[in-house]
Symmetry: C2
Subunit: 213 residues, 2 copies
DNA sequence: CAATTTAATGTCAGTCGATGACAGATGACA
DNA sequence: TGTCATCTGTCATCGACTGACATTAAATTG
C-alpha cells in the first residue's frame, strides 16, 4: 500500500476520533465541522471529501458493523435454520469486536454512547439498520429458497433485528454486558417461539392460512 | 374556539398540504421551505413557527398516528393479554383512519408514499416509531405488572412494532391493502409463537431459564 | 366602543451544513 | 527529472434554521 493510501487512512481515522471526542464533550449539535477539521489540521472542505455529512462521520463505525454482520451471515452453512444462522452471525461479530485493540473498542463504545444519547443520530442509525435489514431479508430468502417478497423471511429477520435493537437499549459501557444481554434475549425468544417456526412452510404440510377472526 | 385558533389551524393544514404536494412532485430535497411558505402566502419565518424543521412538516401526520395508537392502547381492557391488546389497538386505529373524509385519507396516503420514497424521511419516521416504542413498553409493562426494564414487555412490543414496520413495506396505495397485509402478518405471528408466550412468567411456574446452546 | 394587552407575522441579519469551481501542492510513475 | 493523477485549500453560493425587533391583528377590559 502506497504512502498516499496510508496518509488517507490516517486522516480518516483522525477525523473519526476527533469528531467522536468533540461530539461527546461539547455535544453533537454544538460541534461544528470546522472545529473537527481544525483538530486534524485540515480544511472543512476536505472533511466533506471524506464524509458525506456531519452525521456520516458519527455513523461510519456502525455502518462498518452492519457490513460485517452481513458478511458473517453469508458464510454460515446453508444447513442452519435461518434464525440460528442470524444468531451465530451475531455471536461471531461480537467475537471479532472483542479481539480489537484498546483503541478500536474505545472508538466503538464511544460511537455507541454518542448515538444513543443523540436523537438525530439515533434516527440515522435506524436508517442504516433498516437498509441492512433489506439485504438480510434477501439473503435469508435465498437460504430458504423462497422469493424475497415472501412474508416469512421478512418476519424472521424483523424479529431478529428487533432483538438486536433491544440489545442496544441496555447499558453499552462494555462489550461483555452487551453479549450477555444478547444471550438473555435469545433465550427469551426461544422460549416464546414454536419449534421449527423459522423453517420454510412446505405447501401441503400445514393447512391453508386460517381466516382472520 | 376563537377566530385566532381557527386561522392558525387553517394555516397549519395549508402548510402540510402544500408541503406534501410540492415534496411529491418536485422531490423532498429539491423543495425549499421558501416555496412551501410562498404557496400559503406566508413568510419562511412563519413556517418555522409552525414546524420545527422541514422534516417535521412531512412527519407531522405520522406523529399524530403514533399518538393515536398509544391512546387506543390505554383504553384496552386490562384482561387482554399484551399482544392481543396491541393488535386490537392497531385494528381500532385502522378503523378510525378509514372513517376519515377524502381529504383526510388523501393526506395520509400522500405522507406515506412520500416517507417511503425518501431515505432521510424514513430515518425520521423510524425515530418517531422508536420514541413511541418506549412509551408502549412502559404501558405494556404497567399492564403486565412488571418493571419497565423487564425484558418481556420489551420483547412483546418489539415484535409487534416489527410487524407494524413490515406492514409498511408493502404497497400503501390503499388503506384496505394495508389492513389485509396486517392480518396476514398477525396470522404468521400466531402460527410461530407458543400459546401464552406474551403472558407474564410467574416465578416458580416454569423451570429455570434453560442454558443457551 | 375605545383603550390596552396579548399573540401572530414579517423583515433583517447572521450561523452553520453542504456543494461546485478553480488553483496550487504532492505523491505516483515512466 | 518531469509528467500525470490525485489531494487539498480557497472562494462563492445555496438552503435550513434562529434571534431580535417592529408591525399588525385578535382578544380583553373598562
Amino acid at each position: 500500500m502506497g504512502l498516499r493510501e496510508r496518509k488517507k487512512q490516517r486522516t480518516r481515522d483522525a477525523l473519526v476520533d476527533a469528531a467522536l471526542d468533540l461530539f461527546l464533550t461539547r455535544g453533537y449539535e454544538a460541534t461544528t465541522v470546522e472545529q473537527i477539521a481544525a483538530e486534524v489540521d485540515v480544511s472543512a472542505r476536505t472533511f466533506f471529501r471524506y464524509f458525506a455529512s456531519k452525521e456520516d462521520v458519527a455513523l461510519s463505525l456502525t455502518a462498518e458493523e452492519q457490513d460485517m454482520f452481513l458478511a458473517e451471515l453469508v458464510t454460515r452453512p446453508k444447513s442452519e435454520p435461518p434464525f440460528t444462522a442470524l444468531s451465530q452471525s451475531m455471536r461471531a461479530m461480537l467475537g471479532i469486536l472483542r479481539e480489537l485493540d484498546e483503541a478500536g473498542t474505545s472508538r466503538i463504545l464511544k460511537a455507541r454512547r454518542l448515538i444513543h444519547s443523540t436523537p438525530s443520530l439515533l434516527a440515522g442509525g435506524m436508517r442504516l439498520v433498516r437498509e441492512n435489514e433489506r439485504r438480510l431479508v434477501a439473503e435469508v430468502a435465498r437460504r430458504m429458497g423462497v422469493p424475497p417478497d415472501d412474508l416469512q423471511p421478512q418476519f424472521v429477520v424483523s424479529l431478529f433485528v428487533g432483538i438486536g435493537l433491544l440489545c442496544l437499549n441496555g447499558p453499552t459501557e462494555d462489550l461483555g454486558d452487551m453479549a450477555r444481554r444478547y444471550e438473555d434475549l435469545l433465550t427469551l425468544a426461544e422460549r416464546s417461539l414454536q419449534p421449527g417456526w423459522d423453517l420454510p412452510v412446505r405447501p401441503g404440510t400445514a393447512g391453508a392460512v386460517p381466516p382472520a377472526r
